[in-house]
């Protein structure tokens, strides 16, 4: 009972100190919420359907007055996925793109009807390849309709190819990526207050003073780790609630938990172990609070960059995708994507949890060897 009281008080003290530090609260709770919001909005184009997700702003110029050319120009201008923009007076293509309000300029040349000259498309050089492919595909369909005399190619193709997906599963929204990504990112940032707190106590002598009391050393260690572990779990739950109930209303993206939401429990418990392990490791390696905050922040950001948190794993080149595997954030993020997007069985998630457990174990082991309590 006495030990339990001591343990409770160790946790209470740690939480009081942590929760009274406004900067830490901002870092651990508000930073990920802000990142989820802004990154979801910013990354909309990566996950939404390139064509149906947003209208293409396009200048359409018909240099021919032939029937097919006129029909194509009309089809392009009236297509619901295209927003026709008139060419501003006296501007060439480069100047139009510099204004940033047009993504493509389509020119139907004289001789199109006769098959002598093809339709010309100029794209804004800064638009991404996926968007370019989608826009070109749409224009190709419309051109084929006109040239082949087909009324609605989309309907014809729909009879030939159909995309199958799991029931009740919408197209993945940016929130499906950003909520777990920035929850994990923020969880790794726990290393900053954790290591700073430890080093401050060591430097001001409170930790040494604690060892002059009849308290088991293991209890002191646990009393320093458990509060941060609990904060980590709270962070994840809060980010999940923000994703499900707040962000989906503010930025109109849906967030789905998948068919096995209970898988989140073991994943989150293991991810929190990995993040607190990282915190303990930083505390053991750094000598001053300043050093520890630099080490923890740099480590977390690098793991985020490599691990598919800051730059989505799906858009990385193959070499980077392989390198991502060195980051524990990659394994954590993929485990959550297994739950939220892939509806994966627990057997698929398990290897990722093993990697994270090994990472946590390695951190605690090295920290245990390196840490100097006095």
């Amino acid at each position: 009972m006495n030990n339990f009281n001591k343990f409770k008080e160790l946790i209470r003290k740690e939480l009081l100190i942590l929760l009274r530090d406004r900067q830490t609260i901002l870092l651990l709770f508000l930073m990920p919420v802000a990142l989820i919001f802004f990154m979801s909005v910013a990354l909309e184009g990566v996950w939404t359907d390139k064509v149906t997700g947003r209208k293409i702003q396009m200048v359409v110029e018909n240099e021919s007055d032939a029937p097919k050319a006129n029909l194509l120009a009309e089809k392009i201008k009236s297509n619901k996925l295209i927003q026709h923009v008139d060419r501003p007076q006296g501007m060439d293509n480069d100047q139009i793109f510099e204004r940033g309000k047009v993504q493509a300029i389509v020119t139907i040349p004289q001789g199109f009807d006769e098959g002598e000259k093809p339709v010309e498309i100029y794209f804004d050089p800064v638009i991404d390849a996926g968007y370019k492919i989608a826009a070109r595909s749409l224009l190709t369909s419309l051109t084929v309709e006109v040239v082949m005399g087909i009324d609605n190619l989309e309907t014809v193709i729909a009879g030939l190819i159909i995309e199958k997906k799991k029931p009740n599963m919408d197209f993945p929204s940016p929130l499906q990526q950003t909520v777990p990504a920035y929850a994990i990112f923020a969880m790794f940032f726990i290393a900053i207050p954790m290591s700073i707190g430890f080093l401050k106590e060591k430097n001001d002598g409170t930790l040494q003073r604690l060892f002059t009391y009849p308290v088991n050393a293991n209890l002191i260690v646990l009393g320093k780790i458990i509060p941060y572990y609990l904060i980590n779990l709270t962070q994840f739950v809060l980010m999940l609630l923000v994703g499900v109930y707040v962000m989906s209303h503010i930025i109109s993206f849906s967030f789905q938990l998948g068919n096995h939401p209970w898988h989140m429990l073991p994943v989150t418990l293991v991810v929190a172990a990995a993040t607190t392990g990282f915190g303990v490791l930083v505390a053991a390696l750094a000598r001053t609070p300043e050093q520890s905050s630099t080490l923890a922040a740099t480590g977390a950001i690098l793991m985020g960059v490599f691990g598919g948190v800051m730059v989505p794993h799906v858009v990385m080149p193959l070499a980077m995708k392989k390198m991502a595997m060195i980051s524990p954030m990659y394994w954590a993020h993929q485990a959550y994507l297994d739950i939220f997007l892939r509806d994966a069985a627990f057997g698929t998630i398990l290897p990722k949890l093993i990697v994270l457990t090994l990472f946590a174990g390695m951190c605690f082991y090295i920290a245990g060897r390196r840490i100097k309590w006095m």
């Binding site: 002598g205 002059t212 009849p214 006095m374």
Partner: protein
């Protein structure tokens, strides 16, 4: 009865000095304390004096179980350090202010009281007592980071007194405080000693040591260079300088 018994301890921090001499442990590391022994009788007010870097703080940290020694022993009221009984018997006010700045005085006391094994009721009662003794009752709910230097010193002492220890170990408890706070601290200590608490006081203020303490131990270069009754010393500062020399010391 012996409140504290330190026998034959050798200690080095493991910092290589590059030379091996009679103060070295043979691995090129200089001893901070060499074959050091000390006895403090129960009820005594014992001064531990020495120049900077003499080994006083290291000795305090060994006595309180923060540093482990490979040879020698520390016993508190007959219990080996760091037995639970030994730890329960001591109250330690370290030289640095070792408090949690973003907790209030009461929260600090509650924390250290729980670590000492006090019950909720005991903590409440003892907190009120020690806050009154140290003149901090009206600041009990203020965050420690709003305290002045003197108040911090007094709270540092209050934490050490909270669990009513039989042996109080004080490492320069009046560093950086004004004469009023210093006087208040020493009055509190004198009362405690009168009530039977044994005190080992490390200080650089010779006149305070001479006024309060009945026995003195002089430490220099990790060795006990004098142990005896204060009564036999006319001028402690002069005696100190005679024993330790007039040369300046590095930490």
């Amino acid at each position: 009865m012996k409140a504290l018994e330190v026998t034959g301890i050798n200690f080095s921090y493991g910092l290589p000095t590059g030379k091996v001499n009679n103060t070295s442990n043979g691995t090129g590391q200089e001893y901070v304390l060499k074959d050091f022994s000390l006895s403090v009788i129960s009820g005594q007010f014992h001064a531990l004096l020495g120049p900077n870097g003499a080994g006083k703080t290291t000795l305090m940290r060994i006595i309180t179980g923060q540093l482990m020694v490979k040879s020698g022993a520390v016993k508190i009221y007959g219990s080996q350090m760091s037995d639970q009984n030994a730890l329960r018997s001591i109250g330690y006010a370290p030289q640095p202010i070792s408090l949690y700045p973003t907790l209030t005085a009461k929260e600090n006391l509650r924390f250290f009281g729980t670590m000492a094994g006090l019950s909720e009721g005991e903590i409440i009662e003892r907190s009120e007592n020690v806050l009154e003794e140290t003149g901090l009752s009206s600041y009990a709910l203020k965050y420690v980071n709003t305290y002045s230097g003197g108040m911090l010193r007094r709270l540092n002492l209050a934490v050490a007194l909270l669990h009513s220890p039989k042996l109080l170990l004080l490492d320069e408890p009046t560093v950086g405080v004004d004469p009023q706070s210093r006087n208040h601290i020493y009055q509190t200590l004198a009362k405690l000693n009168e009530s039977g608490v044994t005190i080992l006081l490390s200080t650089h203020i010779m006149e305070d040591a001479q006024r309060l303490c009945s026995r003195v131990t002089l430490v220099d270069q990790g060795k006990d260079i004098f142990s005896g009754d204060m009564a036999g010393i006319d001028n402690l500062e002069k005696f100190f300088l005679e024993k330790t020399g007039h040369g300046l010391r590095d930490e």
